[in-house]
């Protein structure tokens, strides 16, 4: 018992130090005026018309992105998880792909298509390119790019939640109504918490995103607070400016928690129930396939393919490797180390949340979720405010701070994956080991972890992908000379030649493709395409 408690307390302490303490540091920094307590920074912000305007822009952008991502992601998720649409496994992977990349890579891809000197300009002339360029830069283009990058969140959560709907509930509806009414009145209301969670995550991720708005020149709040910190070096004002974004995230996560609590149904599964009912699309099958293929071609293949086309010039890749190889290696190293750390901490927290249903662990769970959706500028400013002290030089300005940042921002992913994995393991398996005299470490190492190994592998891979694509947080805390490929590319974007930037983006895509292959191997038999069709009416 003692070793169990020590391990679990340590995990909570790590998350507290990495995540909660920086948040408190941001608050402390924001109320420090000339070494004294004061609210002058907030006063400046509240009186500034521009700040309110930027906040309005951010909320408008995030709302548009969340709306578009939900409008497309919900039907796509239902199509992928509940129907006999051909190629749905491949299509789900295709639509997920942009989420695995830093969003600005997709923005660069769209720029290569619709920007001045882009592919559209080459084909249709500069007058048309001028028009598409004007659409791409500004609110519309920023919203479209972010929606295409973040839509997979809603699609994947829809797919996940759809598979938790007990088939009997749909069968009971099918006795009285066709599939359409069954979806609208039974399936979708039951998965609504998952869809809303997806929309909320998209809203908050879009709210905190600054690389894409900066590239596509749409002024938003997060860009301003980042600029105040990185360019103008006004840490206290930047800290105060980041607080409203943190408060919005806190408020929305609290609301979501309340909503989910009320809508979490106790669902009884019959032992013999099939996993997922499949709705046949009938004659509409190939029409819908055409529509989805078109969406995938335009929304994913076109912007990413354009990067490959633009970078296919002599001498570009040797230069890209010369300029970015060290950063690429660091990216992979940081991501692998971060994912490993996150998997260990996430496992300990997930164990607490799943096996010890105490309110304190629920609070830890809520904290990790909040940190996940918190804008990276807020987390970054908090980490610097906390760790930038002479006595903490062993961490500040080293790769360790990057790892601390990853733990702060991404623990929710690995702890949630652990919770999902543990919920499928009967408690009796662990209890039997305990009766046999095994201590906690032995039980976890020999019984629980092997049984949850699949979830832990999935958690590691997802954490790796999130770390390898991270731009905003890493940009704020990387050690001198220790930048990653997304940061290096973003820095070069201001002055680098478009083919070089495209080649660096392709290198980033490759860094995501390799683990994607591993995901395919691990989850091969869970893909929707391999789900057995359980019924055929």
């Amino acid at each position: 018992m003692r070793s169990e408690r020590a391990m679990l307390v340590l995990a909570v302490a790590v998350v507290g130090a990495a995540g909660l303490a920086p948040m408190l540091a941001v608050l402390a920094e924001s109320v420090r005026v000339g070494g004294q307590f004061g609210l002058a920074h907030y006063g400046v912000l509240v009186r500034s018309t521009r700040q309110w305007q930027l906040l309005g822009h951010s909320v408008l952008l995030a709302s548009l992105v969340a709306g578009m991502a939900t409008t497309i992601g919900l039907p796509l998720g239902v199509l992928m998880a509940k129907t006999d649409l051909p190629l749905r496994g491949t299509l789900a992977a295709l639509f997920t792909f942009p989420f695995l990349l830093p969003p600005y890579v997709v923005a660069v891809g769209w720029f290569q298509v619709f920007g001045r000197g882009g592919i559209v300009g080459d084909w249709l002339g500069p007058a048309v390119a001028e028009r598409t360029h004007a659409i791409l830069f500004g609110l519309s283009g920023t919203a479209l790019v972010l929606a295409s990058c973040l839509m997979p969140v809603v699609m994947l959560l829809t797919m996940l939640f759809v598979r938790t709907v007990p088939p009997r509930l749909e069968e009971a509806a099918r006795l009285a109504a066709p599939w359409g009414a069954t979806f609208i009145r039974v399936t979708i209301p039951l998965i609504l918490p998952g869809v809303l969670l997806g929309a909320l995550i998209v809203f908050l991720l879009a709210l905190g995103e600054f690389a894409v708005p900066m590239f596509l020149r749409y002024d938003v709040y997060s860009v301003d607070s980042f600029t105040r910190f990185a360019a103008l070096y006004q840490p206290a004002v930047a800290a105060a400016a980041s607080v409203p974004l943190g408060l919005i995230a806190l408020l929305l996560v609290a609301l979501e928690r309340l909503f989910l609590r009320d809508r979490t149904y106790e669902i009884r599964f019959a032992a013999s129930a099939p996993d997922v009912l499949t709705a046949p699309l009938g004659r509409a099958r190939f029409v819908l396939l055409g529509v989805v293929l078109l969406l995938g071609a335009v929304g994913v293949a076109l912007p990413l393919g354009s990067l490959a086309i633009r970078s296919a010039a002599p001498g570009v890749y040797p230069e890209a490797f010369a300029r970015g190889w060290d950063a690429l290696v660091r990216s992979l190293g940081y991501a692998a180390a971060g994912a490993t750390l996150l998997t260990v901490i996430g496992f300990a927290l997930g164990y607490l949340i799943q096996r010890r249903a105490l309110s304190i662990w629920r609070a830890v769970d809520s904290l990790t979720i909040l940190l996940f959706v918190l804008p990276s500028t807020v987390v970054g400013i908090g980490l610097i405010a906390l760790w930038n002290r002479p006595t903490l030089g062993a961490v500040y300005g080293t790769a360790w701070l990057v790892l601390v940042g990853y733990v702060a921002q991404y623990t929710a992913v690995t702890s949630r994956a652990t919770v999902a994995g543990l919920s499928a393991i009967p408690r009796a398996a662990e209890e039997a080991a305990r009766l046999a005299g095994a201590g906690w470490f032995r039980r976890v190492a020999l019984i629980v972890a092997p049984l949850a190994s699949r979830s832990l592998c999935a958690a590691w891979i997802v954490a790796y992908l999130l770390c390898v694509r991270d731009t905003g947080l890493t940009m704020m805390i990387y050690p001198p000379g220790g930048d990653t490929l997304p940061v290096r590319t973003f820095t070069l974007m201001a002055n680098g030649a478009p083919p070089l930037i495209a080649a660096l983006c392709v290198m980033m895509i490759a860094a995501a493709v390799i683990p994607l292959g591993v995901i395919g191997l691990v989850f091969g038999d869970l893909r929707p395409g391999r789900q057995r069709a359980k019924a055929a009416w």
Binding site: L169, E266, A536, W537
Partner: protein, 203 residues
């Protein structure tokens, strides 16, 4: 396997776990098609040789599932109204039929309650009412009393028989308990582990 039920008859399908009793109900409901053979309801062939001819919602069949499958996001009223609305029944008629059915199963005051707030016995009654409010010709019951205690089990057996006699539907009742089968049914069909599904099921 060949099985024939007469209109208004109460038949119990009795057999050990895993012998295919539930599969027979799912064949009749239209959730699966027989690989070979046919299912007929009245004069109509509803499934034949791996093909569903009539989908579940057009068979006039009601079902009470083993796990009840009440929709947790809808009230008792919502659970009963779903099928009636889907079938285009007018609003006043929906209200009248729901009121009548809830009175019949003794849940007249529970219309606004969520199923998760009800006791096991009350949930059983809601599931029964939801199936019967559509006035099915055939009611399929898949071990509906398996999760209630012995006292309630015996009480509900009597209520099922009373409702069947009052409303006159054909009942196909699956159970693995011989005493339950004897109490509920007029005729008991025994299935063993080798029971295949090669012939015709006519109701």
């Amino acid at each position: 396997m060949t099985m024939r039920l007469e209109p208004g008859e109460r038949v119990a399908l009795l057999g050990p776990s895993g012998c295919g009793k539930t599969t027979v109900l799912r064949l009749v409901a239209g959730f699966v098609a027989p690989d070979h053979g046919l299912v007929r309801i009245g004069d109509e062939v509803v499934a034949i040789d791996g093909r569903i001819v009539v989908p579940p919602e057009r068979r006039g069949v009601g079902m009470v599932f083993q796990d009840l499958a009440l929709w947790p996001h809808l009230s008792v009223h919502g659970n009963l109204a779903f099928g009636l609305r889907s079938q285009g029944v007018s609003k006043p008629e929906i209200e009248r039929r729901i009121h009548e059915m809830l009175e019949m199963v003794g849940l007249g005051t529970f219309a606004d309650a969520k199923p998760t707030r009800l006791s096991g016995g009350e949930q059983q009654r809601v599931a029964l009412a939801r199936a019967l409010v559509l006035r099915p010709h055939v009611l399929l019951m898949d071990e509906p009393l398996s999760s209630v205690d012995e006292r309630l089990n015996r009480q509900l057996r009597g209520e099922i028989v009373r409702l069947q006699m009052e409303l006159g539907f054909t009942l196909l009742y699956v159970t693995h308990r011989a005493d339950e089968a004897a109490d509920v049914a007029e005729r008991v069909a025994q299935m063993d582990r080798s029971g295949g599904l090669g012939g015709a099921v006519t109701i």
